[in-house]
């Protein structure tokens, strides 16, 4: 059997207990709801959630597209501003002293307060949602990337300098590549919260999106549809997270190569 084949079977084997557990939970849930005759606007049975999914299948893709667009645009802004600010913070101690407290404060503005305000300022379009995603997302990227820049191996910096590198060459050949893993660590955290941020923004007021879908379903006491939305949000989040993970792998092929070698060595 090939190495890849063995790894694949190993993966499937690892997932088996989780799947079995999930299935058990669903069966117990279904049986309990039916046996106790729980009202569907309180807790819908899995079968009823499935029916709601089939019913709303037509409108979901449009909402998903909106939410995804907001999440991706917000993440993009978070990356651009996050990396820029990280560069600024890493460049000098005074800038760190001046900006870090402000950044921490910015993270303590409750989203439930900010979201309605942004809706008032920027309307029901995607703009306020993009801003919320960006606001939530840029902090982990800033913190992590700054750390990565500051932790670059001093000996590598010295080596580059001894070979004739100036400030910019040190930045390009040593500091930036050193910070790439840290940047992706931050981006993964941001990506995990991005969809949630967009949904909160939509829930407050929107013309499309999964948050709007939830708000409407709640108003109609369609708890089964709320469950559908929650599952879709989870799936979209996981897809986004996986995409970032893949991107990280592509951007850092050396880390992957190193890991493979140790695995084989064991």
């Amino acid at each position: 059997m090939t190495h890849a084949g063995r790894a694949l079977r190993g993966r499937a084997g690892e997932a088996l207990p989780a799947l079995a557990f999930l299935l058990t939970v669903l069966v117990v849930w279904e049986v309990t709801v039916r046996a106790l005759d729980v009202a569907p606007y309180l807790v819908p049975a899995p079968s009823r959630v499935w029916d709601a999914f089939l019913e709303t299948r037509g409108v979901l893709p449009g909402h998903i597209r909106t939410t995804m667009t907001e999440a991706l645009a917000g993440l993009f802004i978070a990356c651009a501003s996050g990396v820029g600010i990280a560069g600024l913070l890493a460049a000098s101690v005074p800038s760190r002293r001046a900006l870090y407290p402000l950044l921490v404060i910015s993270q303590n503005i409750p989203m439930v307060v900010l979201a309605p305000l942004l809706a008032v300022w920027f309307g029901f379009g995607i703009m306020p949602k993009v801003l919320i995603v960006a606001l939530i997302g840029f902090f982990p990227i800033v913190v992590s990337t700054t750390d990565g820049l500051l932790r670059a191996d001093r000996d590598l910096v010295e080596l580059a300098r001894s070979l004739g590198a100036g400030r910019w060459q040190v930045l390009r050949t040593i500091l930036i590549p050193s910070a790439v893993p840290a940047f992706f660590a931050g981006l993964q955290i941001s990506a995990a919260y991005a969809v949630l941020g967009a949904v909160i923004g939509e829930w407050v007021g929107a013309s499309s999106g999964l948050g709007l879908f939830i708000a409407r379903s709640q108003r109609a006491f369609r708890v089964d549809q709320v469950f559908v939305a929650v599952i879709v949000i989870a799936a979209v989040s996981i897809a986004l997270f996986a995409a970032v993970h893949l991107l990280a792998r592509l951007a850092m092929p050396w880390q992957h190569a190193g890991r493979e070698r140790t695995e084989r060595g064991v």
Partner: protein
């Protein structure tokens, strides 16, 4: 009028500000003529690496001065090609990318540097590993790659800090013979730090012996063995005499 030496160190003292403060060098002086091969031996922790860092422009002495080819080298980088004691490869560059780093930073076009590096991979025992990541290379290969990177830097003076430290005895001998060949061909000035007295004598025109910390040069031994020197020469009478001289100087400073 005498030619200016390629490496000229006079009365260099350096104390690392602690805590605790460590006096690494005190009044170290040495001269290496152009095109000569010199070695620096001394007890561990006596300041050999520190002296090389001074010459590389990375550490500032508190006293004394250091010149490379008649130019003030204190605080000035890029006058020499420096190979640090740790191999310090960039994990995010493949072997070939690491090999060309020195040339690239010196302004050699990347394509030219790569052609040159490819041509030398075989001589450095790295053929077929051009696209390997440093994490996939053995300790010896990493060191040879670091040496290749140093050689490709277009500098007249090479500062090598224990370049063969991680190699087994056999590969080490091979690399020594090979280094001797390369050096004879391209005629650059070399200052090599090593713990291996045989290696120092086999390769060098001059061996400098350092005292224990704080380090200074206590003996200069000129090696008058004919070149090219083969591994077997280390059994000759003259070789033994030179080795005894170095050893005696080393034990005297303990």
């Amino acid at each position: 009028m005498q030619e200016t030496p390629a490496i000229d160190v006079r009365g260099v003292s350096l104390t690392y500000v602690g805590p605790p403060p460590v006096a690494a060098l005190t009044g170290a002086s040495l001269q290496v003529e152009r095109g000569q091969f010199a070695s620096l031996v001394g007890p561990s922790g006596c300041g050999k690496s520190t002296l090389l860092r001074v010459l590389a422009g990375l550490a500032r002495p508190d006293e004394g001065w250091a010149d490379l080819q008649g130019q003030d080298a204190v605080g000035v980088t890029a006058l020499a090609a420096y190979m640090p004691q740790r191999d310090l490869l960039l994990p995010w560059r493949r072997a070939l990318g690491n090999a060309v780093l020195g040339a690239e930073l010196a302004g050699v076009p990347r394509a030219d540097a790569e052609v040159q590096a490819r041509g030398l991979m075989a001589r450095f025992g790295l053929e077929g590993f051009e696209r390997a990541w440093p994490g996939q290379l053995s300790g010896g290969m990493r060191q040879r790659l670091a040496l290749l990177r140093t050689f490709l830097a277009p500098r007249e003076v090479l500062l090598l800090d224990e370049p063969f430290g991680a190699l087994d005895a056999l590969t080490r001998r091979e690399m020594q013979e090979w280094l001797q060949e390369v050096w004879r061909q391209d005629g650059r000035t070399v200052l090599l730090v090593t713990h291996d007295i045989d290696e120092a004598i086999t390769l060098s025109d001059t061996v400098f012996v350092m005292s224990g910390r704080p380090g200074r040069i206590v003996r200069r031994v000129d090696v008058d063995l004919p070149r090219p020197r083969a591994a077997l020469d280390s059994t000759s009478v003259r070789f033994s005499e030179l080795k005894a001289e170095v050893l005696e100087a080393l034990t005297a400073v303990r």
